[in-house]
Amino acid sequence: MTATAIRPRRAVFAPSLFRIEVLRQLRNPFTLVFTLAMPIGMYLIFGGFAEWGDAPMAHGNTKFQVMVSMGAFGTATAMSSLCSLAASEVRQGWGRQIAMTPLPIGGYAATKITAALAFSSLSVAGVFVAGILTGAQADDAWRWIVSAAVILVGGTLFGLWGMGVGMLLNPDSAAALASIAITVFGFIGNVFMPLDGAMLDVARFTPLYGYVSLARWPITDGQLITGQTDPMWAVLLNIVVWAAIFLALALAGVVRSRRRA
């Protein structure tokens, strides 16, 4: 790629592809239910309309804590399902159509991840608007911003997870499995109902625990609804270990698909 590399259309981001990707997800009932409707619905049940919603936390109320949890859950679902779809599509031959255009595979990946992040932002915005309307409160405005930023940046973790699953599993079931797994991770990871005792001990080792705990940090300082307090190092350790595992999974997927090609 020497002379043609400087052609302006050999871009790393493809607006026409981005537009169609967002459109595709907006009319995909599965994506709409699991990344937009479900997080908002869960927030309303466990936060917005819950009797304990106004109970105070370290820097705000419980509604805010639940709102952040559901925003993180929606983002993790969106990233894993969209990234596994992207990987499956490449394997099923769409990648070969793209390979015959000037867009390099890196540009394709960048465009897909941007689309997944855009959709995640929509999911977070939906839950946060529901939070604002139902009285989620934080002591300072920056706590909203930092929580949202942690959710979106940390969501890339689950993009890796989705990519690995999409590369390794049967394309017909990969996307569904990747995102249903996120729901399971949510239940066992202290994201929905507050866990305690042995369940909580197990939860600390699951992939959503560290991510959601960090997103909640601006409002909780690590305090749990059940009274315990997590140290920051434990939360970060969870994230680093799972990031390494998901990265390995994604790389294994890439290696395997190369071997098959």
Partner: protein, 314 residues
């Protein structure tokens, strides 16, 4: 088939170098006992404006060869040049494009959306309307790709290949999944496109498609080129039809069989009242058989398998 012989290929155009040059290409898959020599040493030069059929059974190495031509995979050894540049660069600049058997479409997009996305990537948006029309997609523009028939999906892929206005068009089993009518329509479109001076290379396992469309046919088997020449010559070499009929009259049956053997026809067999022979003069034999009161007359073209047996045996 009454196809008029095509005029000589515009060889003059090759003064600016060949369209495609494959030199000493090999490509293996797997290792050890699972080693598959998909392409086992291929040299092939195709001039600009030529129309070439790549003929071969499944597993002959056609698709692997086309993949390397398109820069989708890299040969283990050898050189690939397309219009004087490496394959990948020719693809990126849209000078070579392809309808791939293995290329997939997204089922949830409409036909028009699919064309628009790829047009956007090529910077070819002004060509969308022309290409949709040429590929016969205007009427199904709003249909979801997943709801399109196999033939319609092939036409969508064809449209995608035409978007960058390529000089070289590669087609891998382009009419797979099309019915007879769609197949004829597809080749008519291709002929127009080729008349405009485009180089066309297509893989097929339909002998008829090579006969009707390609001036030159390259036959592949087990990763090698086993024949390469003018399609008309190749056809003559493979010539002959198998004619078989039920001839109730014993005398007529043995007379015709003897005559055929004397005339040097292959595989003359008499099985009960059934007479079977392979001959280049199938029309004459058929007339003779019918005159002798034969029934259940069958004339079949040689299958590709038998063609390969012939090609690889001599």
């Amino acid at each position: 088939m009454t196809t008029t012989p095509a005029p000589a290929p515009p060889r003059a155009a090759t003064t600016t170098g060949p369209a495609i040059e494959l030199a000493g290409i090999t490509r293996h898959f797997g290792t050890g006992s699972k080693l598959v020599r998909a392409v086992d040493g291929i040299d092939l030069t195709i001039g600009r404006g030529e129309i070439v059929a790549l003929l071969g059974p499944n597993g002959a190495g056609k698709t692997t060869t086309l993949d390397m031509l398109l820069g989708l995979s890299t040969p283990d050894t050898g050189q690939v040049q397309v219009l004087g540049s490496p394959a990948r660069r020719a693809v990126a600049s849209g000078r070579i494009a392809a309808v791939l058997q293995t290329g997939g479409l997204l089922p949830d997009l409409t036909v028009a959306e699919t064309v628009q996305v790829i047009a956007g990537l090529h910077g070819a948006k002004p060509r969308i309307d022309d290409v949709m029309q040429l590929a016969g997609l205007t009427d199904i523009a709003r249909r979801r790709v997943g709801k399109c028939s196999g033939g319609e999906q092939q036409r969508v892929k064809f449209a995608l290949a035409l978007l960058p206005d390529p000089d070289v068009l590669v087609l891998d089993e382009p009419t797979a999944g099309m019915d007879v009518k769609a197949r004829r329509r597809f080749w008519n479109t291709m002929r127009e496109s080729a008349d405009a001076g485009r180089t066309v290379v297509f893989a097929t396992h339909y002998l008829e498609e090579a006969e009707q469309f390609a001036r030159r046919t390259v036959v592949m088997d087990r990763g090698r080129i086993v024949a390469d020449g003018e399609t008309a010559h190749l056809r003559a070499a493979l010539g002959g039809r198998t004619v078989s009929a039920t001839v109730p009259d014993t005398d007529a049956r043995s007379t015709i069989a003897d005559e055929l053997r004397r005339a040097g026809a292959d595989e003359v067999r008499v099985d009960g009242t059934r007479l079977t022979a392979r001959t280049t003069a199938s029309d004459e034999l058929a007339a003779q058989l019918l005159a002798a009161g034969a029934t259940d007359l069958e004339i079949t073209a040689p299958t590709l398998e038998s063609a390969f047996t012939d090609l690889t045996e001599d």
